[in-house]
Point group: C2
Chain length 388, copies 2
């Protein structure tokens, strides 16, 4: 097992009717003027906006609103946020949304206290030393950004999607009310679940080869997601399944479930990022396409672990090692398909002649800390495996 240091300062408030806690949490932090940041207004329809605004008013918290964060968040919105934060002298950010809104909040919270353009930090050319406090109200379980120190952003002018981590951008308080996700579409729910599964699988295949207990834990999370996302397809307002999925999403990337590992390797995200940059494909959808192919391309380098996966997740016990692994990959792909997720680049509207461009982008931006370093040629092969 690797040495590790772990500390996570986020206060997680989880459960029914917890959205209204946002007011008192901000107040208790001694903050009375915040930025209220959200996406495209779905929070007007499901009552979240109303509940949050009421709680803020009741607690005497003044707020400025900024909306329009896209599903694949962009740097220009971060700049817009920073301007409002500075102009209005705001002391905190309340991010109501999923990973895109939270990551925009994180980049802006750090950017407002950074001497130069925050994009420098994404590119590894600068370091954060402070950030404005962030409070989150989660509306979709997917990226796990609600309880971690990671931030992913697209620089749309430069066609780059990059990430940074910093202890300063952990949300101070995160509210996760599973019932807030009842109104998500089937597609959003499935994309979120596949995003979480991909993070778990990455830790499992790459990071935790030396820890039995973390293998056990990650396998348990995978089985739980597989079970409950299938319930949610038919019963989007099943509270229990929403809660299971929400908990599974918080766990793998908050640090606790990756301790003893090499961190969050994000290798399949390296493969998925170009799809979102050039074709605006949601991360979950991109991952359902590329993940099985990535597994097929690399499994031989760690075959024992993939054989274990085949057994623990799909109960496969028969056949040669290769047969078992390939069967498991096929079953995973079939599972994604059964959820209605795309499983080929072609199906997602990408032309075969675009693959080289996508591979070049992925290779250029690849900052994945992975045991399998993927070069441009590897990535192209994986995209080809993902094509049909």
């Amino acid at each position: 097992m690797n040495n590790f240091m772990f500390k996570n300062p986020t206060k997680l408030i989880f459960g029914r009717d917890t959205v209204q806690r946002i007011g008192e949490e901000v107040k208790e932090s001694g903050i009375d003027k915040v930025l209220l940041l959200y996406g495209k207004g779905s929070i007007y329809k499901n009552g979240i906006y109303e509940a949050a605004v009421k709680a803020l008013k009741e607690n005497g918290i003044e707020f400025k609103e900024l909306s329009g964060v896209k599903a694949n968040p962009e740097l220009s919105k971060v700049h817009e946020c920073i301007e409002v934060l500075k102009k209005e002298n705001l002391q905190g950010i309340i991010a109501i949304g999923g990973g895109s809104v939270i990551d925009t909040a994180k980049a802006a919270a750090a950017g407002a206290r950074y001497e130069s353009d925050i994009w420098q930090v994404f590119e590894g050319n600068g370091e954060i030393k402070e950030a404005i406090p962030i409070f989150t109200v989660l509306t979709i379980s997917s990226a796990g950004s609600e309880m971690n120190s990671c931030c992913i952003m697209t620089n749309e002018d430069e066609n780059k999607k990059m990430a940074f981590t910093s202890d300063y951008i952990y949300p101070k308080v995160s509210i996760v009310d599973p019932a807030a996700q009842f109104t998500l579409s089937k597609e959003q729910t499935v994309n979120g679940a596949i995003d979480v599964m991909s993070r778990v699988l990455e830790l499992y295949f790459e990071g935790v080869k030396n820890s039995d207990v973390m293998d056990e834990v990650l396998e348990g999370i995978l089985r739980t997601i597989i079970k409950h996302v299938q319930v949610l397809i038919n019963e989007p307002d099943n509270y229990n399944s929403r809660a299971e999925l929400a908990l599974c999403a918080v766990l793998p990337t908050n640090g606790y479930y990756s301790i003893g590992t090499k961190g969050c390797p994000l290798v399949s995200h390296q493969l998925e990022h170009p799809l979102s940059i050039f074709f605006d494909i949601a991360p979950g959808a991109g991952l359902s396409i590329v993940f099985p192919s990535w597994m097929k391309y690399v499994y031989k380098y760690n075959i024992k672990k993939f054989v274990r996966f085949a057994n623990k997740i799909f109960g496969i016990e028969q056949g040669t090692e290769d047969e078992r692994v390939l069967k498991a990959i096929e079953l995973l792909r079939d599972f994604y398909k059964s959820l209605g997720a795309p499983v080929s680049l072609k199906e997602a509207g990408i032309r075969y002649e675009d693959l080289a461009k996508l591979a070049a982008n992925a290779a250029e931006l690849g900052n994945a800390r992975t045991i399998w370093v993927l070069g441009k040629e590897d990535i192209l092969q994986i995209y080809k495996l993902s094509y049909e």
Copy 2:
């Protein structure tokens, strides 16, 4: 799933050669005069004392020493600590040891800032509002006190063993070097493992009946402990198994793995406490005696969960539900026996005529938040089941 709030401020430093980090961690906290608290001097023999003292000196940390904390920690030692803390105006406590030393540090850290006798707080007649910072260097994985807000103490004058929890007593920094446990005796290792297993089993049977993912996680921890404690019996210096066990001990009681549950019910500890008060039996040894009998006494009230346990931990698939559960309890008891742990009160030197006195003590002190409230008569029956 139940609503929950979770926050754990402890910084966990885990791995080989981490003991020496204690000096810089204390220094970074702005503290330069501490109490160094430990047990009976085993830390002189295994190099931990030397490494810690060297690190403190190198970082210019002044320290007063206090030793002699017993395996079942007593209130008189807490009072002694408080006196030294106040007299010497110390700003922090470094607890080098297991749960007994850490819990003594916690009680003293709170007691030194409490206006009256800290025992009031254990009895539920007072509340803590601050505590001196605590730093720990763990020498035995057992109670999980290194990363939680709980403190258990015996008042030896009143024959009471009681607990309290407070956010103020989370250790600020906890150092867990699995190699520091190479020199533990087989008995200490086994007792520690059974202590951890009991905490996991309590959460599993009582707390998490509504969360699939937490059931999965707790089952994974149990299987990992069972595997690695068997390795350690023969290879006490197997780093990997020490690390697995140490990680399994930190996890179930740090809050993360009991989220969505009703907290740490500690029902079997209610049964074990009188054994330590009157017969000075180590918690792990007391638990290996009473836990299987407790299971036998209560399983019918939640039989589905016990059937699941039989399947997931011992692979039992055949027989009626009762047969499967009883078989699993027998296998658990056999497993404890195979580790050399006591499995009967008689074997531990307790007379049959003492059982009523023990039951009365357990019933009087029983503050367990449990779905099975055990009265004196229930407890007596369980002790009788545990006798031979």
